[in-house]
């Protein structure tokens, strides 16, 4: 049977078919749909959202040495968080099959950097599989678990944005239950730091065996053509672009990109005058080939390292023609930058931060949009949880007027140790937690502050204010995020407070199913009272537009009834529709 599946859905389907019994991960583009699919279609795989990627990896590691087949998912930068566990796992090796998804984001569609995690795999000595289409996402998921069990090694399945986020036809199968493998609590194997010296040679033995395997494994394949002058070495989604742009070239498609097959690469390259190495991301394969002494290759010097590849880009690089460019001459091709959603509770906080003229140390989430006009009230953003440590550092550097801003999910993910540190080291931290009960930017997933788990069932809800008090925060205030005056007042008090303080700006994400389903009475403009002062436009709500007579008009089917525009109207011209009737 064939299904039309997203790369990520195909991975989920493969995991289900392969008898996976434990799945953990943290949402992150472009990996999120894997666990979402498992939760909605295949809950018998026992999926969960973990607090962060390190926790997810460690839970998965435990389940795998305990004998289950395991899948752990994260985006590329998530693996940085999990790196501590990732690097040490090969020292013990696994028991049940263990696959970790590293979803890399060339082009940085929704990421802060463009790191190529094949390098992390090389540091950790973990084999890497790279599928080239949705079918292989499915197949390599299953084969990856088998490979993992065969070599007792964790396996990385590396996807990239276009692979994870494209749909194609996938031949699917049924679930095969796999017996739990026996777990022997063997400290000499699993208590790595004590027995490290004995374990270290085992890592090399496994790597040597995997390197031999790479020479003949079915993940790598050669497609010969009659063309005797040009060959291509490629991997991942770039293989599809090669087939499109250079249909006559002979191709060595590497489905396993670590460890790499030296003999196979040497032999292949010896048959052609020129070999193009075409891989998205860094020159990982290319560098290896150059180190082998292969010289008839062309790669990053013509294709480049930055951004996503595409057939058009390959065509240009190979001087086969330049695709047309967007029309920008003679017409105003306006940008359409992303905006906070209608009714988003972050708006009032950023308006207040702007008004208070503070330096804002921000974090990872929808609220990075606070850095853009009209707010421009987020001045630094780096990585998950960095808002707090950076605010402490800025204050140490004399910038006392600094506020850290973090979302509920990001706070739980990586904000707790820096908060405890700030208190321990007697900082005057002012922290705003934007608590919308969701991991918003990736699509409003559940987290420990939302009171629901990945299956939508009730789950214990973290009491953020009690938690903050328990860490030693002197002043903790909770405020309704749609009450703009209260937000300003609370922030003022918090900033003036001598000691660490936390403001929890609370209001659910408008994209949550329960928020979308609720019965909404929209606001509407009474044109008789409206003086066209434009105050409501300065709320920057996408639901407010203009009539031809220049009056504001609120789209009734978009309004979330958040009340903020009504609060700013000086003539009370914005009222609930029912009241007007």
């Amino acid at each position: 049977m064939r299904e039309f599946l997203l790369g990520n859905e195909a991975i989920a389907r493969g995991a289900w078919e392969a008898g996976v019994k434990f799945v953990s991960g943290y949402p992150g583009t472009p990996s999120t749909e894997i666990i979402e699919t498992l939760a909605t279609r295949f809950p018998e795989t026992n999926p969960r959202w973990s607090a962060n990627e390190k926790v997810a990896f460690e839970e998965g590691m435990g389940a795998a040495i305990g004998g289950l087949r395991v899948l752990v998912t994260m985006k590329h930068v998530g693996l940085n968080v999990a790196a501590d566990a990732f690097m040490v796992f090969p020292y013990s090796g696994t028991n049940g099959g263990f696959v970790v998804i590293s979803a890399d984001d060339p082009g940085m569609h929704s990421s802060q950097n463009e790191q190529d995690n094949r390098y992390l795999a090389r540091v950790g000595k973990v084999p890497v599989l790279e599928p080239s289409d949705a079918q292989e996402c499915h197949d390599f998921m299953i084969a990856g678990l088998e490979l993992s069990e065969q070599f007792k090694s964790p396996v990385m399945l590396r996807t990239t944005t276009r692979l994870a986020h494209h749909k194609g036809l996938v031949e699917v199968g049924e679930r095969k239950e796999v017996e739990r493998r026996e777990f022997i609590a063997d400290a000499k194997r699993f208590s790595v730091p004590i027995y490290r010296l004995a374990r270290r040679p085992e890592v090399e033995k496994t790597l040597t065996a995997l390197t031999e395997y790479a020479e003949t494994c079915s993940f790598n394949r050669i497609e010969h053509t009659d063309n005797k002058s040009v060959g291509v070495v490629t991997s991942g989604i770039a293989y599809q672009y090669v087939k499109e742009v250079m249909p006559d070239a002979s191709v060595l498609r590497l489905g396993m990109t670590f460890p790499l097959p030296a003999k196979l690469l040497r032999e292949f390259c010896s048959q052609y005058e020129t070999v193009y190495v075409i891989e998205e991301g860094e020159p990982f394969i290319e560098e290896y080939m150059r180190n082998l002494g292969i010289t008839n290759i062309k790669g990053k010097e013509i294709f480049g390292v930055i951004g996503e590849y595409s057939p058009g880009r390959l065509r240009s690089a190979l001087a086969l023609g330049n695709p047309p460019k967007p029309f920008v001459e003679g017409i105003n091709l306006l940008p359409r930058p992303p905006m906070m959603c209608v009714g988003c509770g972050h708006r009032t906080v950023f308006a207040a931060l702007k008004q208070l003229k503070v330096t804002v140390s921000g974090d990872i989430g929808c609220y990075t949009l606070g850095a853009l006009p009209p707010y421009e009230a987020e001045h630094t953003t780096f990585c998950m949880g960095a808002s707090i440590g950076v605010a402490v550092g800025l204050q140490e550097a004399g910038h006392d007027n600094t506020v850290a801003v973090i979302g509920d999910s990001t706070f739980i993910h990586a904000g707790i140790p820096p908060l405890i540190d700030a208190i321990y080291n007697k900082s005057h931290l002012t922290l705003v937690i934007l608590d919308n009960s969701a991991t918003g930017m990736t699509g409003s997933q559940q987290n420990p502050a939302s009171g629901k788990n990945v299956l939508g069932e009730d789950a214990p809800k973290l009491d953020l204010e009690a938690f903050c008090r328990a860490t030693g925060v002197g002043l903790v205030e909770v405020v309704d995020t749609w009450q703009r005056k209260e937000i300003v007042g609370t922030l003022r008090r918090s900033i003036a407070y001598k000691g660490p303080s936390v403001v929890i700006a609370r209001g659910a994400c408008q994209q949550l199913p329960e928020m979308k389903k609720r019965n909404i009475i929209p606001f509407s403009v009474d044109e008789e009272l409206c003086t066209q002062c434009d105050a409501c436009f300065k709320v920057w709500c996408p639901a407010i537009t203009r009539t031809e007579q220049n009056f504001p008009v609120i789209a009734a089917n978009e309004c979330t009834s958040c009340i903020v525009c009504a609060q700013v109207c000086p003539t009370d011209a914005i009222k609930l529709m029912e009241v007007m009737a």
């Binding site: 749909k167 036809l169 992303p338 920057w540």
Partner: protein, 194 residues
Amino acid sequence: MNNTISLMFAGVGGQGSLLIAELTSLAAVSAGYDTKQTEVHGVSQRGGSVETHVRFGEKVHSPIVTPGEAFAVIGLEKLEALRFAHYVDPKDGTILVNDYELIPGSVANAEKIYPHETIDFLKSKGLRVTALPASTTARELGDGRMANVVLLGALSTLLPIDQAIWEKTLKLRIPARFLEGNLKAFQVGREMIS
């Protein structure tokens, strides 16, 4: 090249361009074609520009459409049609555009500097542009949100997929309470092109 048909769907987040791209893909699959689809959007799709690529044929490799090769660019909004107009095959392609404007809320003075002249501009570049009052028509049919399906109806007349397959696909994918309206919108869209 080969016989692959490439389509580019452009719109603003929330307009339903992804839905009609998906319906097209499913119809192509149902008609027996190898099919690939991919969606590109930035940090937040909400209110931002959304592009969806669909390609179908005997054997499809790249899910990405290359500028200059699209058999049709389907724009749910004028500015977004302009943004992706260079994807159309300048010889044999068509730009199907909803004659409708959504002013970018996050751009200062956007109303004044919005490219209202888009349709004439694209025609002046020698491109085949078909402007359709999809939003107006959808509103007349009772729900402006069905503008996407009106455009899909128009597009369907240009593609080698039988009407019965289109209707079957709509029935499978659209929730029952919206089905009747959408089938009507689809039919009205079809008639706009004939």
